[in-house]
Amino acid sequence: MIQIKNLAKIFENGDSPIRALDDVSFTIPDGQFLTVSGKSGSGKSTLLYQLGLLDTPTDGQIIIDDINTESLDENQKSSMRLKNLGYIFQDYAILPSLTAFENVMVPLLMLGLDDKQAENKTIEALTKVGLEDRMHNLPSQLSGGQQQRVSIARAISHNPKVLFADEPTANLDTETSKNIIDLFLKLNHEGQTIIMVTHEVEYAHMSDRTIFLVDGKIVSDITNKIA
């Protein structure tokens, strides 16, 4: 479970600081598929970065499984990201000098798995996203959709507690986007907690719950279906 209490993020901008997140509080139970929606600049990506421990909030608390992340130093946050969190970025953020297989394998090696275990888990993750036949291709040899699948495989390979996705379909065509969302739904049905930022209403409606942000504040928190 993730508890967010009075979260605020202020960006200094000369004399007029920007409140990207303003007193945001909510709770995400385990196994929920949450979408965060809103217009551009509403603070949805900023929220995701704070929840994913990629950035440090100006104020407030994020408690993941009873651990108050406020007290964690940079190394502990890194360890938390490695063990418990998975990320999928809008522009895939996969490493260009590594093959699909190697991209997925790196965090597994970092977790201390031996080569054989890491290879098996990599194959398992890539098979899950349907990339078993493109495993040894470099990112430059893959389409956008395939690159996003690599990103998903890397994010789920170590069975994270929470999967974060920042507009994962923004750069993809409709067909590929639908496939990606189907994959998320499948993962969610298997018990995976997912927090996805999207501005596409159709996809938001497919999730368990949708939070709408306007100017860094939650303006609505809708349950789309009974979890």
């Binding site: 970065y49 990629l54 950035d55 940079e74 190394n75 890194s78 360890s79 990201r81 490695l82 063990k83 969190l85 990320y87 970025f89 953020a93 996969i94 490493l95 260009p96 000098s97 590594l98 190697e102 394998m105 790196v106 965090p107 090696l109 970092m110 201390g112 470099l138 890397r154």
Partner: protein, 425 residues
């Protein structure tokens, strides 16, 4: 327990670092890699060759002194004696030295050489003369040890049946290479092959004909006048068979120290000073050798600084242009240490590859080329001094420098904000 856990973490960081480094190197731009390795090769050569030539400049003199003057073992009279005591006995022992190849026994004296001695001097005009060490040799025997024949600059070598011939060292003759004259410095002017010169020892004078001039690039040889032993003995007015110097050439592979110890233990140590070629080096050569070694180390230190700056720039540029890559790695939980280690591995790869190619160049091509064609410096034939142990020591220094130079820029970039790096802001 805690220590083991820490070691396990570091080991895992090193494993991930190696995994990343291997792939980065493998998939890096081929031309960039070639350029970096090329720079590292030159950095290595700068470390080894420049200081090696400096030291080799003097090593050329040291080797020439051994080859042209002292041989492997040098026996000379004690400082307070005019000649080697029991000279004949000493020579007999020398002839039975284990591993002896050849030897040459010399007698020496000091005298004065006057050119144009028939010329009537003007008022206040000084004679065209120079003080010199006179050496009596058996030409064939001398040549077997010191190859003196090959040091002839002009004219011909001395023969045993030539009582009137002499060879004059190049330093005694004024020529374009003679240093600027200063008060007290003299050199013979207008002396050519075939000219008559007058040699004076005490009250004894004899006219000789210049057969040749010698340039061995060894001061002890180039400032001497060589003549047949029998003639010098006559001029010195002695019929005793005595010697002042014996230069011994040992067979290849015979240890100088062992040969010297054999001579000392034979009992002749009480009659003469017995030295290995190293011990017999003139003091100024030893001093210059030390000086140039210090200079060589100073230049190597500058080379190391240049190397570290080169690696620093390479790694810094590499890391800064891959800021997003590093951000993503940090974002997915790869530790800073693993990322830094990957950059250290990369810098070590470039340094090791550059050093290996540099060592192949030095030991397979450059050093043999220097041996075959020494640099013709005015006072020595410069060679390249590059020992395997010395070179490996420099490689080790280069590696330590590389680790530091790889670590610092990687750490600077890795410390940057993860999210900013990923988003490229």
């Amino acid at each position: 327990m805690f220590k083991e856990k820490i070691l396990k973490i570091i080991k895992n960081d090193a494993r991930v670092g190696l995994f990343l480094a291997k792939r980065d190197i493998k998939r890096a731009n081929k031309w960039t890699t070639i350029l970096i390795v090329f720079v590292m090769i030159f950095t290595f050569l700068n470390l080894v060759v420049v200081s090696g030539i400096l030291v080799g400049l003097i090593e050329g003199s040291v080797q020439a002194n051994k080859a042209r003057n002292t041989g492997d073992i040098f026996i000379s009279s004690f400082l307070n004696r005019d000649y080697i005591d029991q000279s004949v006995e000493v020579v007999k022992v020398v002839e039975n030295t284990p591993g002896l190849a050849n030897y040459t026994a010399r007698i020496t004296s000091s005298g004065r050489v006057t050119a144009e001695f028939r010329k009537t001097l003007l008022k206040d005009e000084l004679p065209n003369a120079v003080g010199a060490g006179l050496v009596g040799i058996i030409p064939e025997q001398e040549d077997l040890v010191t190859n003196l024949k090959t040091a002839i600059k002009t004219g011909t070598y001395l023969s045993s049946d030539d009582p009137d011939g002499i060879l004059i060292g190049d330093s005694l003759i004024y020529n374009e290479e003679t240093p600027i004259e200063f008060p007290g410095f003299t050199a013979l002017k207008r002396v050519s092959i075939g000219d008559s010169v007058l040699i004076t020892i005490g009250d004894t004078q004899k006219e000789f004909i210049v057969r040749g001039t010698i340039k061995a690039k060894v001061n002890e040889v180039d400032s001497r006048v060589f003549m047949n032993q029998s003639e010098l003995r006559k001029m010195m007015g002695t019929s005793l068979i005595t010697y002042n110097e014996i230069a011994i050439d040992l067979q290849d592979g015979i240890d100088e120290d062992l040969a010297k110890n054999a001579l000392v233990s034979s009992g002749i140590g009480g009659y003469a000073r017995i030295q290995t070629s190293i011990e017999a080096q003139p003091k100024f050569l030893k001093d210059i050798q030390k000086t140039f070694a210090i200079l060589g180390n100073a230049i190597s230190s500058i080379g190391l600084v240049v190397a570290s700056i080169t690696i620093f720039i390479v790694i810094f540029v590499n890391a800064i242009t891959r800021r997003r890559y590093i951000g993503i790695l940090k974002g997915i939980g790869i530790t800073r240490r693993a990322i830094i280690i990957s950059y250290i591995y990369q810098s070590l790869f470039y340094a090791i590859l550059g050093s290996i190619i540099g060592m192949i160049l030095v030991f397979a091509f450059i050093k043999p080329a220097f041996i075959a064609h020494p640099i013709d410096f005015p006072f020595s034939d410069g060679i390249l001094v590059a020992t395997l142990s010395g070179t490996l020591y420099r490689v080790l220094l280069l590696m330590i420098t590389t680790v530091i130079a790889g670590f610092i820029p990687a750490r600077i970039v890795v410390k940057q904000n993860t999210l900013s790096a990923i988003l490229g802001r």
